[in-house]
Amino acid sequence: MTANDSVLPPAEESTPLASESTRRAPRRSSPTLPSSLHADAPADQPAPIRTRRSPASARPTRSTPRHRQPTNGTPSGVRAPRLDVDALLMNPGTQIIVCCGSGGVGKTTLAAALGLRAAEAGRRVVTLTIDPARRLAQSLGMTELDNTPRPVPGVRGTGELHAMMLDMKRTFDEIVEAHTTPARAAQILANPFYQSLSSSFAGTQEYMAMEKLGQLKASGRFDLIVVDTPPARSALDFLDAPARLARFLDGRFIRTLLVPTGRGYLRVVHAGLQFVTATMTRLLGAALLADVQTFVAAMDTMFGGLRERAEATARLLRTPGTAFVVVAAPEPDALREASYFIERLIEDNLPLAGVVINRLHLSGAPEISAAQARAAAETLDGAADDDTVFAAAVLRTHAQRMEIAAVEHKRLHGFTVAHPRVPVAFAPAFADDIHDVAALRTLGSSIAAGT
C-alpha cells in the first residue's frame, strides 16, 4: 500500500522498506485529485439532500483547510461536498448503514472497513455480508455459514465487530418455522416448490437480507449494523425485491390458486378459474401445479405475517437511524449505476448519506505531466546505463498512472456535476487485495482521511 499512502493523509501502518540503501517516499498530505472535487463544505447550511431528520450522515462539517495543489485538468467550480465518514460512523444515532452499488466495486470490503472503523471507535458493530471473498471471510472469522454473527478477531479497543454471511435458505426456513406449527412447517420445507423458491428465486436473497437485518435490529445486541447488499442484476433490485415478494403474496393469482375448485359460488368466476388452472396445468405440467397449490395452501396461514414483516423491514429503511452509502468505482458503468441509485433513493425519500468512490488512482507526483514523462522516456537511447533505463520505465509507469487519474477525474467531474449536492468520499486503489483486518483498517482510515 506504499504508494497510495504517499498521496493520502497518514494511514496507520506503513510497510517497512527492505534495505538501507532505499528510502521510503515521504507522505504528503495533499490528495491531488479528491481535493479538487471537494468544496470546503459550508459550516451551517442545512443538510443538502436529506429530506428527513436523521443523524450525522449528510450533515456538512467544516473541513479543515486543505492544500490544493494546482493540477492539470482540475475542473474548477465543480465541487462535491465531502462525505464525513467518521461523523457518520461515530454518531450513536447511526444505527444501520446500507452499502449499495453495482457489482465489482468493492462493496463488501468497504462495508467491512466501515464496520471495523466504527468498532475500533468503541461501537458494537455487526456487518451482514452476502458474498465475501474467501480470504476476507476467513480473516473476519466467517469460516462457517451458520447464519449467526461471529466476533472478528484482531479488533482494537473496547468496541466489538461481529460478522456474518447471509444464508438465504436458512433464513427463509426460520421464518417458516417461526410462523406456523412444526407439522405444517415440515410440510412446507419438504415441498419441492418451496425448495426452489427459497434457494433460487431472484429476489429471495434481497428479501432475506432485509429480513435478517430486521432480526439483527430487533435483537438489540448491536448499536450499528452495516449491511452489504446482494450483487443484484441491478442495484435497484435490492429496493424492489421485498415489495415484489409482498405483491406476490397478495397477488390475485395466489388467491386464484387458493380458491377450492369445488366451491363454485360464482359460476362465471369458477369457469374462468378452471380455465386458468387448466391452462397452467397444460403449461407447467400437473405435477408442478400440484406442488404450487400444496405450497400455497400450506403457506396460507403465514401470508399475513410475511407481508407484515416485509412492510416492517421496508419501514426500517426509512427510520432516521438508517443511512445509505452508495459505493462506486470511477468506471462508467459503476458511476451510471450509482447515479440511478442516488436518484432512486432521493425519489423514495430514503436517507442517502453520500457516495464513496472506491479504487481511485492518484499520483503523488502531479508536477510531472503524462506528456512530459512520456517525452522524457522517449529520449532514452540504446547506449543508456541501467539507471537511465530504469528511470525511463519509471516515467512510463508514471505517465500511465497520470493518464488513468485524468480519465477517472473526467468521469468523476461528470458525476459530481450531475449530483452537486451529494457528499462524496474517496478510497484509493490498492496494489494488493484487501483481505485482512490490518488492510481493512488502512482502507477505513483512507476513506475517513481529511474529514
Partner: protein, 346 residues
C-alpha cells in the same frame, strides 16, 4: 481472416463474468468479431438493463431483433433485449396459438407469477428464446414474432441458419450455471408436458459442442477466483467452457528482472534521480520519492497479475487479452473486436 478460429462450429456464445468486469462490452465486441466478413450475428441481452443499447448508443431495444451495427467486411450485428413476460406470451402464441387465453392469464397475474416467481421459469423462457434464435433457419415454418427481416442472399442454402452466431450477454458468473442448467431442473419439476420437452431440447443444445461459455475477468483476486469456481461448476454440469477473456489489461513498463525487488520496496532513489536527470528531468527529492512509490505500487500490481495469470492458466482454456481503452464506446468495441479476431476468437 478466420484462418485460425478457435470456435469453429460454435453457434451459441454465452458470455459471463463477475459484475464489473465488462461482460456486456466483451459480448458486444465478440458479436462484432463474429459478424465480420459478411456473417450475421445476433447479440442478446436478458437482464433488462438495456446495456446493449447504451453501448451502441441507440434507443432502448424493443422485444424484437434490430440491426445494431455493421461489422468489418459487410457483416451485420443484430440486437435483441429479451423481456421474459413478452417471451412467455410469444411462447403461448407459437406453441398453443393462444391469444385471448394469454391475456386472461395476464389479468389474473399468472404471467407475472410465472415470469418472476415460479422457480426458474423466467430463465427457461430466456434460454428458450435464445435457443429459438440460435436454431432458426431461413426455411423454418413460423418465424418468431421478434425475428428481424433478413433477406437470404443468392447462394445461401434455404435451410441455412438465419444467424451464423448468437452471442448472449448472460447473467454473471455466480449465477451462470444455475441459469444455463435451469432447464435440467425444470425438466425434473415439470415431469411431463411441453415445458418438459422443450427444456430437454434446450439442455441438449447448451451441452453440445455448438455452445461455448466464455468467462470475462480482470486480473484481480476475486474475479479470478470466481472465474475458476465458475469453470468448475460449468464442468460439473457438462456445460462447455469456452475461453477466458482477460479484460482491461494495462501495459507493464517495468522490466521483469527488476519486478520482484521493486515490489519489495527496493528502489534506489539516488540512482533513480541520476537516471531522471539523464533523461532531462531534474526532479526534487520529494518528486523522486513519489515516483518511486508509484513504481513500487505498479510492481506489486504486476507481480500480482502474473500470479493471477498463472492461476488462470491452470484452467487449461484459451485466454484472450483485451486492453484498457479510454475511447468512446463504439470505437472501443471495434478495437476490441479486432483484438479478439487477431487472437483467434472469431
Amino acid at each position: 481472416m478466420g484462418v485460425d478460429r478457435d470456435w469453429e462450429g460454435v453457434r451459441l456464445h454465452v458470455v459471463t463474468g463477475k459484475g464489473g468486469t465488462g461482460k456486456t462490452t466483451v459480448a458486444a465486441a465478440l458479436a462484432l468479431a463474429l459478424a465480420s466478413d459478411g456473417r450475421r450475428a445476433l447479440l442478446v441481452e436478458c437482464e433488462g438493463r438495456q446495456g446493449i443499447a447504451r453501448l451502441f448508443d441507440t434507443p432502448p431495444l424493443p422485444y424484437a431483433e434490430r440491426k445494431l451495427a455493421v461489422a468489418p467486411g459487410e457483416g451485420m450485428v443484430y440486437g435483441l433485449a429479451i423481456d421474459p413476460e413478452q417471451a412467455l406470451l410469444e411462447y403461448l402464441e407459437m406453441y398453443y396459438h393462444l391469444g385471448r387465453p394469454a391475456r386472461v392469464l395476464q389479468r389474473v397475474g399468472a404471467i407475472d407469477f410465472a415470469t418472476t416467481i415460479a422457480p426458474g421459469l423466467r430463465d427457461v423462457l430466456l434460454t428458450g428464446k435464445v435457443y429459438e434464435a440460435t436454431r432458426r433457419r431461413f426455411s423454418g415454418s413460423r418465424p418468431a414474432r421478434t425475428a428481424a427481416r433478413i433477406v437470404r442472399h443468392d447462394g445461401v442454402p434455404a435451410d441455412a441458419y438465419v444467424y451464423d452466431a448468437v452471442v448472449l450477454d448472460a447473467p454473471p458468473t455466480g449465477r451462470i450455471t444455475r441459469f444455463l442448467n435451469v432447464n435440467a431442473e425444470v425438466a425434473d419439476l415439470a415431469r411431463v408436458g411441453p415445458i418438459n420437452r422443450q427444456a430437454a431440447s434446450i439442455m441438449s443444445l447448451l451441452r453440445s459442442p455448438q455452445t461455448a461459455v466464455h468467462l470475462v475477468t480482470v486480473l484481480e483476486d476475486m474475479p479470478v477466483q470466481e472465474t475458476l469456481d465458475g469453470i468448475a461448476e460449468l464442468r460439473r454440469q457438462q456445460l462447455p467452457v469456452g475461453a477466458i477473456v482477460i479484460n482491461r489489461v494495462q501495459p507493464a513498463h517495468l522490466p521483469t528482472s527488476a519486478l520482484r525487488a521493486v515490489a519489495r520496496g527496493e528502489v534506489d532513489t539516488a540512482a533513480l534521480q541520476r537516471g531522471l536527470a539523464k533523461l532531462g528531468i531534474a526532479a526534487e527529492p520529494s518528486t523522486v520519492d513519489a515516483l518511486a512509490a508509484e513504481t513500487i505500487d505498479a510492481a506489486r500490481t504486476a507481480v500480482r497479475e502474473r500470479r493471477l495469470r498463472h492461476t488462470l492458466s491452470q484452467a487449461g482454456r484459451p485466454t484472450y487479452d483485451l486492453p484498457e481503452l479510454d475511447i468512446g464506446d463504439i470505437a472501443r468495441l471495434y478495437t476490441l473486436a479486432a483484438a479478439l479476431r487477431e487472437q483467434g476468437a472469431a
